[in-house]
Subunit: 361 residues, 3 copies
């Protein structure tokens, strides 16, 4: 595929500066760009690197210093670049229809233009909305409902009774609707399994990463609200509610019945204990451990997580600890000298013991 | 399904208080309960919330304050509720038999009433005990032995030579028997793979979460003992031994050859180094890092993990560090003032230097 | 299989000491060894335990104290043992050919002696090199290229356009080439998905653990260089470059665009933020969190990660904090007493206030 820069400028609604008779064939990162490539330069400090490439054109921010390359100028260069990516890379949509090697139960209802890849299993009472794509080797359990325009990559696993909205993307290896981790200890310390009879609900525009696990509720529902994006290898326990437009980065784990607000960011490897609430617009830093309710809007770090200023103060103070120890020694020496002088004045002239009694060595 | 409260009381061995001519059709969490629902109220403070619902009946603890709803009264309300869940929600057992799309080797021996779902693979010399259920798209490797009444959910992977007891539940995406992570470095720093020729043993009543990984031993066996429950996304390395009735919460990782005792609890995201032993009845808090042997019975927190009182003392002390710094400053000012007075008395009247030489700023 | 010790000594190039007319049938860990077993004893302190077993022979280091068992003596006992493991345990290679239940696209090109297990899917334009083994229920996406002598275990998932070298091993449940986690926020805080159109490259001799996830690049490539070994449940984000002969232990996560050097070791549960560089030969301890560039060659611990000596000093100082608090109290008492004496001398005899104004309690 190739597109004239002039045409591209129109489609992306950018102002074109420089030679408009250039063909763009590919998008590339700056350090790999060659002839025919369109690149993105957001930072003026990357302009010299741009000049060193053979890139054919560049997307820059309105007000950026001039450069020798033909430029698409815009107030939102990131958005223009993403739109260009969408123009140049249209994903391979599989042909609609059910691959003959797949096992689709008679009671399943598939809307028009649904595509089911090879060796998948769709159990009875499943419904799948228009234009949804189910990859190879996927499993969809009995009575699960899937909306329109979803895309499930190969080897996704959806258990029975799961509700999935429109435009939901699920990556390979994700397991949606596994049993919650719930047991009752009997008198002998042996655990009796608590039946996990609830559901999972993934609302519209949710995206679930590879090898994520989302447990079904004990009763009721585990719910991921509209627009929330979950990265790879995240664990969502039973009865958790994750708000809308929230982001959870890889290897984080949310314990049972916890509620996470809207527009929250949990960075990587964050842990959240069970039965707490994280307010809207909270950011939790990487590897933090949330052990109690967090009010809306703050930034929290550390394990246990505290407001980020308190965390930074603690880290700084800990780093100063060796200095504190030497200051203490010096203070004790000065004290001993003053005490010695005082005791001489009292003429009893007994050496003070206290300077050596167990201060930090 | 509906059941008269009177009949339910008998089955759960509860004392019935109030109107016994009520039909229960469902169990529900308190905040979702409507007509026909049975709920559980363990805490007296939830009784007002109960009154506000249209729930038809409640399970309460013996001695609980009276309420307006028909009540099933018992000394162990949790147990009664779990038993009620089991009465109302019997899992869909698949019909016994092998789905025709599955590939079962001739040398595999399946006991009576085994069910194998679609598109699964059972290799030669596998044995599967009575009434065990193998879901869709499962793989069971050569020579693995599986006991009675097991349940493997879709997309479970069991490699060759794995021994699995009775009533073992394995959730989707779990990988049992992958190679241990063992290499030998040659003189050039290149790693030579150490063949991993041991086995994995899962004893009776073990439950393994979704996307868990349990590596086979280098030689000998990686073993999970009777009744132990492992949550999602946990890593168990080669030659690890996990004791009986132990619980390991999500995203924890146990390194090679480590031994974990009976009735241990590892909370979420715990890490344990290789070749250590954790005694019986130990609890390790979330995100802790165990770097050496832990004696039986304690509670350990932090990374590196220490007894929980020591951890709490350290956290409290760290939180007090800013205060310590200001105390130190005040002490130095007082010292300087005393030293000034002393030096005046000595009439040499030179100002002391020491108060400013490098204390913590 | 059984082998005479004499023959084994020749094959392993070891010096044989003691009775050479012994048959070895198995290799075993010391604590499980019985008759017919060959064991490895590297530490002289394990020799008494060896004498207590019925092991038939032992591999020991040149210069080791004598023992009663027939011994294979060598300068590199680990290497000899690994070679013996390879002699005794040759993995079951499946018969070459495509299992009839697998779906291999017409446009896929398989070299001689490739084996494809049951119920796998190989899409069009895939190439697979000589003698590579693809297990059951594997998926290989369109246009991916796989070298010679690779081994993919059952249920591996490789998406489209992935480049894989020779002798690469991928364990079950690993997902190679899932979308990077990249969004653009619009004015309303709604995330627009950034198309992830790059690739993943796994170079020669890489090994990837079970349930690992490696995301494809936004543009360009996510790359794992020659000889690197990745343990189970590790997350590698888009555009990450991992150097050669590096080791990443379980449950670690590397954020987007980060570069990791050659011969690096990341212990378990390590997190690395995005867009940083870790130099060659660095070791990062378990559960550490790397938040900035690390120079080559050091050992780093803690979250945020610092040089290991600084970390150990901080931990030691934190452990001494309770002692610091009591030292401070003692110092304040001594100060108060000196101030009291000074004030008496001045005859104004007002008690000092400063000793009690807010020191740490």
């Amino acid at each position: 595929m190739a597109m004239q820069l002039r045409e591209l400028a129109e489609k992306l609604r950018c102002r074109l500066v420089g030679n408009d008779d250039v063909d763009v064939r590919r998008l590339a990162p700056l350090h790999e760009a060659g002839e025919g490539d369109l690149v993105l330069v957001v930072n003026a400090r990357d302009l010299p690197a741009l000049e060193a490439t053979r890139a054919s054109a560049v997307i820059v921010r309105e007000g950026s210093p001039p450069c020798s390359k033909p430029a698409l100028v815009t107030n939102d260069p990131y958005l223009a670049f993403v739109q260009a990516l969408r123009l140049f890379y249209t994903p391979d949509r599989p042909t609609p229809g059910v691959h003959p090697s797949s096992i689709v139960a008679e009671g399943a209802r598939l809307a028009e233009d649904v595509a089911i890849g090879p060796l998948s299993v769709v159990e009875t009472d499943v419904t799948i909305g228009p234009r949804s794509i189910v990859g190879a080797q996927v499993y969809i359990g009995r009575g699960s409902h899937i909306g329109a325009d979803c895309w499930f990559y190969p080897q996704v696993m959806v258990r029975e009774g799961v509700e999935i909205g429109d435009r939901v993307i699920i990556h390979s290896g994700a397991v949606i609707g596994s049993d919650g981790f719930g047991y009752l200890k009997d008198g002998q310390g042996v655990r009796i399994k608590i039946p996990q009879v609830g559901r999972v609900i993934l609302e519209d525009d949710v995206e679930i990463g590879a090898n994520v696990t989302i447990d079904r509720a004990t009763m009721g529902a585990t719910r991921i609200k509209r627009g929330t994006k979950i990265d790879n290898l995240v664990q969502i326990a039973h009865n958790v509610v994750v708000g809308a437009d929230t982001v959870i980065v890889a290897l984080s784990g949310i314990s049972g019945s916890t509620k996470i607000g809207d527009r929250v960011t949990l960075a990587g490897q964050v842990g959240v204990v069970d039965h707490v609430e994280i307010g809207d617009d909270v950011t939790v830093g990487a590897q933090a451990g949330v052990s109690k309710n967090l009010p809306p809007g703050g930034v929290f770090l550390g394990s246990p997580a505290v407001p980020h200023l308190a965390f930074k103060r603690s880290v700084a103070a800990v780093n100063r600890l060796p200095q504190i120890l030497s200051t203490l020694k010096r203070i004790e020496a000065r004290l001993a000298s003053l005490e010695g002088a005082a005791s001489e004045r009292r003429e009893g002239a007994q050496p003070s013991q206290s300077a050596s009694d167990g201060g930090p060595q």
